[in-house]
């Protein structure tokens, strides 16, 4: 069980904000912190890791107290057994891939583990290259296994996939999930990507303005709205064209243009530039693989 209670005043790009959270992570669970940028997700991870100090709070991992403002306990980051995976990889540019991984080992006798993880993530051939010559996905794989070589008590991932393209992201989501299934370490995953949450996490905490506004299983949280059978999109009217007794309405939804049919009655009060909601009932959409 991991207990986190922390308070801190932060200065974000939207002005000052009070971060105040109190949550627990059950053993061997993978939880997601989800929220807009500037809501305090990364700060929470950094507080667990010991890279940022809460002004007030209590952090306990298994039976070790890592931070307790009342008793003046604050373990330095080096003495907290964590794995931290950063958004921008943070591989050491002066070391080869193998050296980066070796550096993370506490006991140099465990080098076999390095080769095993390299093999598992299909990076063995790249082991003598410098990080600068690797692709984004390869770098993040190295960063993942480098973090895990620490044999952590908690695995912290700070938007590790956000700078990768969709295809790679999906692939690495699978790999993270596989690593997690194998190791079963309590994991905190920070993201603002909805699809990631559904695929990966067993529990989600939604963070807004420094507070946890909702928490639970992803399907329970997004169940009522996002998972209903209806499609709903908001768009702008670009053109209204009369064809016999019907109107053809061209609507821009994001980067897509859609033509929707409307009756004269419906269309008579509409104008080009109006904001509209385009919705479809559950029984008529067609779904195809692309």
């Amino acid at each position: 069980m991991i207990k986190v209670r922390a308070k801190k005043n932060l200065l974000t790009s939207h002005g000052p904000m009070r971060l105040a959270v109190d949550f627990q992570i059950p053993d061997k669970e993978l939880i997601t912190l989800f929220g807009p940028s500037g809501s305090g997700k990364t700060t929470i991870l950094r507080m667990i890791a010991g890279l940022t100090d809460p002004e007030e709070g209590f952090i306990q991992v298994e039976d070790e107290v890592w931070f307790d403002s009342d008793k003046g306990i604050n373990r330095p980051v080096q003495e907290r057994q964590i794995s931290f995976v950063f958004q921008d990889y943070n591989l050491f540019p002066n070391m080869t891939i193998l050296e980066n991984l070796r550096y993370a080992l506490k006991d140099k006798k465990e080098e076999g583990l390095v080769y095993e993880l390299l093999e598992m993530t299909r990076l063995t051939e790249l082991k003598d290259r410098k990080p600068a010559t690797l692709s984004g996905g390869q770098k993040q794989r190295v960063a993942l296994i480098r973090a895990l070589l620490r044999k952590p008590k908690i695995f912290l991932l700070d938007e590790p996939l956000s700078s990768l393209d969709l295809e790679l992201r999906l692939k690495l989501q699978d790999e993270i999930l596989a690593l997690y299934e194998r190791l079963k370490i309590p994991t905190v995953f920070v993201t603002h990507d909805l699809s990631e949450i559904f695929k990966i996490s067993s529990q989600i905490f939604i963070l807004e303005q420094g507070k946890i506004s909702r928490s639970g299983k992803p399907s329970a949280i997004f169940g009522e709205e996002a998972l209903s059978g209806k499609f709903k999109f908001v768009g702008n009217i670009l053109e209204l064209k009369r064809e016999d007794f019907l109107y053809i309405v061209t609507v821009q939804i994001g980067n897509h243009l859609t033509k929707v049919v409307a009756t004269e009655d419906e269309a008579k009060d509409w104008h080009v530039g109006d904001r509209v909601l385009v919705a479809a009932k559950a029984f008529n959409p067609i779904i195809m693989r692309i």
Partner: protein
């Protein structure tokens, strides 16, 4: 005419000893200035850079006062350790170390300051101590800044004149370095000897800075 190589040899001995001492003093000092948030930083930082703006004679004058046999420190050193500072090679070394300090510290400080903090945190998060992070992560990654500091300190010591003249005087084989020999030869209207020393210093200084540029460009290519 037989040329006296002694001033040149002395100059390079001085530059070498000064640079080696400055490496041990300058790198920790630059690290401390770059990463500390303490109040003392605001006093120490300008002090380090003082030789950049002060006339060398001012620094030389104070060192002279400080270490003269009539001063407390000077007489203490002489009575208890039989060490003389003024008008000796040791005096030159002390003066040069102080005078070239900013040339070693400032580039290395800039290297530390521009080094990504996130990489330091990544190393700490892997359980590595500050010392191990400094030696294995930070220093190898700021090699161009280190080279610049080391070479600039060396080259600057070769070019010293004012401080050296004040503290060392003009004792052949002991404190008569090349820059002072040039001054002496010109005063004696011995232009060919002055030309000889000047030409060698000119070529060597150019060569050092040229090599520094080439090495740093190459290093940057590897890093990026």
């Amino acid at each position: 005419m037989s040329l006296d190589w002694n001033p040149l040899i002395l100059t390079f001995q001085l530059a070498l000893v000064t640079t080696i001492i400055l490496m041990f003093v300058g790198i920790p000092l630059a690290y401390w200035i770059a990463l500390t948030r303490g109040k003392w930083k605001y006093v120490i930082e300008p002090l380090v850079s003082m030789p950049l703006v002060l006339p060398p004679t001012v620094l030389g004058f104070y060192i002279l006062l400080f270490f003269s046999p009539r001063s407390f420190l000077g007489s203490f050193l002489e009575t208890f350790f039989h060490v003389k500072v003024v008008f000796t090679f040791l005096g030159l070394v002390i003066g040069s170390v102080l005078f070239s300090l900013p040339f070693m510290v400032n580039p290395i400080k800039a290297g530390f300051q521009s080094f990504p903090k996130s990489l330091i945190e990544a190393s700490y998060a892997l359980g590595k101590s500050k010392k191990e992070t400094l030696l294995k992560v930070i220093l190898p990654n700021i090699k161009p800044a280190l080279w610049t500091g080391i070479v600039m300190a060396f080259a600057h010591t070769i070019g010293e004149f004012g401080v050296v003249l004040m503290i060392g005087g003009n004792i052949p084989g002991e404190t008569r370095v090349a820059s002072i020999a040039i001054f002496g030869e010109v005063e004696a209207l011995n232009y060919s000897a002055a030309n000889f020393y000047s030409g060698i210093l000119f070529l060597i200084s150019f060569g050092i800075l040229f090599v520094l540029n080439v090495v740093n460009k190459k290093d940057f290519k590897v890093m990026s």
